[in-house]
Amino acid sequence: MSVTAEQVRELLLVQAVNDALHAELARDPSVLVMGEDVGRAGGVFRATAGLLERFGPDRCIDTPLSEAGILGTAVGLCMEGWRPVCEMQYDAFSYPSLDQLITHVGRYRWRTRGAMEFPITIRMPYGGGVRAPELHDDSPETYYAHAPGIKVAVPSTPADAKGLLAAAIRDPDPVVVLEPKLVYRTARGPVPEGEHVVPLGRARVAREGGDATLVAWGAMVPLCERAAAALAGEASVGVLDLRTLKPLDEQAILAAATATGRVVVVQEAPRTCGIASEVAALLAERAILDLQGPVLRVTGYDVPYPYWQLEDAYMPSVARVTDAVRQLLAF
């Protein structure tokens, strides 16, 4: 896939999402956006602002309050040649659509033996740290990554927010794009204008470092960058931004293990069966001789996401990440 952009603008992450939607709807008349409050209101985070006005009510659709209905009708829309981009208003409010996702979205192409495509994009703000009421803070990547037939992407920068979303929309397969709401309006950076595509399945070295590697995605990437900076006097710590959680960029992860031999994986989601476990399992399976110590995981805990006054204790912090790195260096 090619990057045809010429110019670059400074955008917030959520603006980059909006930019991608404008670009993709303009590019391909079969792309449509649907979800709760995506039209008149332009999305509760304004990620879909301006789409209704520009593309009309057939391409930017305010749906009933019905997540299974959104994803289920999206399956049918694909059968009539549409490429639906479904917004789930928040992470935890996507759960009512899990049945459609697991039983149909990820299996229908296989069921037609490849005759039909289901190029559905499901995008949603996800993650904690935003001082929000209950169930506005989940990191649901495991539910999606485990489901057969589903791909999962998570940007951490505005440019990737645009490029991964464009890639997801163009991909022939269903892709869940999790947008780190914690940095929707704090991550600011250069974004190519016009069409911009970041291929799925390729991690990004966010920071070089020779002594240890932090593996992260979404809002944990800037956190890891801060942790690496905090460790600068002690060790050279790199940060690998996975960008796509399924398929994982195995080469990039294994290369990091070869280079540093010390890996800490950082995720917000509860620990059990997280992507952090998957990365650790990959290393235990394919890099055992490269490892200079254990693969450590700094994660959310196997409990409900807490009352927000306590969320900073739950979320991976610079202190927890640096502690893990120090343990590993001392191993």
Partner: protein, 356 residues
């Protein structure tokens, strides 16, 4: 729009009693069309009965029979244009036969052979839906999607009485109504969901009453009357095609066969009630109608049956003759752009299996 509760709706019938009292005719269906309907009914009946036999012989796996429900499928399919979508549940697994899908293909589905999975684009018959009611939103989406493209395609979705309790039914029906999707919601109310009677499924007087909550009209039809089903669905299809949105059609019948080959209804259904349903089954009723109209003779009936039987014999032979699917089919088609790991997995699996 406000809609009257359907318990006030009459039950639509075209075929009368055994003595012909009440026989009507349906506009637009000439003698040839009536005989074609008969052939379709026999084809479906034969497919179903043979599948049960093949199952007993160990040639077909678990199977969900539709004995006695053929009129719903045949009447509905006939009321659609070829370009219209059909969304079957497992109970209508063989509806594709009416759209040219070979019987061998459908047999392969129940035999667990990959060639049983067809291309829905070709026949406009969606894949068989196993999880109850989850295909209702698909049908709503396809109908709505066609309308968004400015086409006049209609979709029809089959589901059972039990399906109306699922959230997916609700969300799909509501979406269809809100989007004015050209959809026919065809509920086969055979009064049982495995062992659960419809009276334990809902407190509503009729399932057609569900339509009121979606602001869509409903019609109740005798599901053992192929002509009544045809007429009801044809009306619903015209409404849909004219942009007037979805219709709920409740086809009343009775499950006169087990839920599936593994089910033992003796434990929960009164056998006398089943016998009664078997006496009023749809093929016999329609044959009576045709005979009264002078359109069907014993010879014709016999030859139609023989033809269907021969086709089934060929179909099972063809299915059984097909070589087993290659192991690569475990990995193929799941993704358009597959994760690289799958190729490695396949190679490893082939190595372990000694190359096969």
């Amino acid at each position: 729009m406000s809609v009257p509760p359907s318990s006030e709706l009459p039950l639509l019938r075209v075929i009368g009693d055994a003595d012909g009292a009440g026989d009507r005719s349906v506009t637009g269906l000439g003698d040839d069309a009536l005989l074609a309907l008969h052939r379709s009914l026999v084809l479906m009946r034969t497919y179903d009965e043979r599948s049960v036999v093949y199952h007993r012989q160990g040639r077909v796996g678990t199977y969900a029979m539709f004995w006695g429900h053929e009129a719903i499928q045949v009447g509905a399919e006939r009321a659609l244009a070829e370009r219209d979508w059909i969304f079957p549940s497992y109970r209508e697994s063989a509806i594709g036969l009416l759209r040219g899908i070979p019987a061998a293909t459908v047999l392969q589905w129940w035999r667990g052979h990959p060639s049983g999975w067809w291309d829905p684009r070709a026949s406009r018959v969606a894949s068989i839906c196993v999880p109850i009611a989850t295909h209702v939103p698909h049908a709503a989406g396809a109908a709505w999607g066609a309308r968004l493209r400015g086409e006049d395609t209609v979709a029809l979705v089959f589901f059972g009485d039990g399906a109306t309790s699922e959230g997916a039914f609700h969300e799909g029906a509501n979406f269809a109504a809100v989007m004015r999707a050209p959809l026919v919601l065809l509920c086969n109310n055979n009064q049982w969901a495995i062992s659960t009677p419809v009276t334990a499924q809902t407190a509503a007087a009729t399932l057609a009453d569900k339509a009121v909550g979606y602001g869509m009209p409903a019609v109740r039809v005798d599901g053992t009357d192929v002509l009544a089903v045809f007429e009801a669905v044809r009306n619903a299809v015209s409404r849909a095609r004219a942009g007037q949105g979805p219709t709920f059609v409740e086809a009343l019948t009775y499950r006169a066969a087990p839920h599936g080959t593994a089910d033992h209804p003796e434990a929960y259904i009164d056998p006398e009630r089943v016998e009664e349903a078997r006496r009023h089954e749809c093929l016999g009723r329609f044959e009576g109608y045709l005979r009264r109209a002078g359109l069907l003779t014993d010879e014709v009936a016999e030859s139609v049956r023989a033809e269907a039987l021969a086709a089934m014999r060929e179909a099972i032979a063809a299915a059984e003759a097909e070589p087993p699917g290659d192991v690569s089919l475990v990995f193929d088609h799941a993704y358009g752009v597959p994760p690289q790991a799958l190729a490695r997995d396949l190679a490893e699996l082939r190595r372990i299996r000694g190359g096969t």
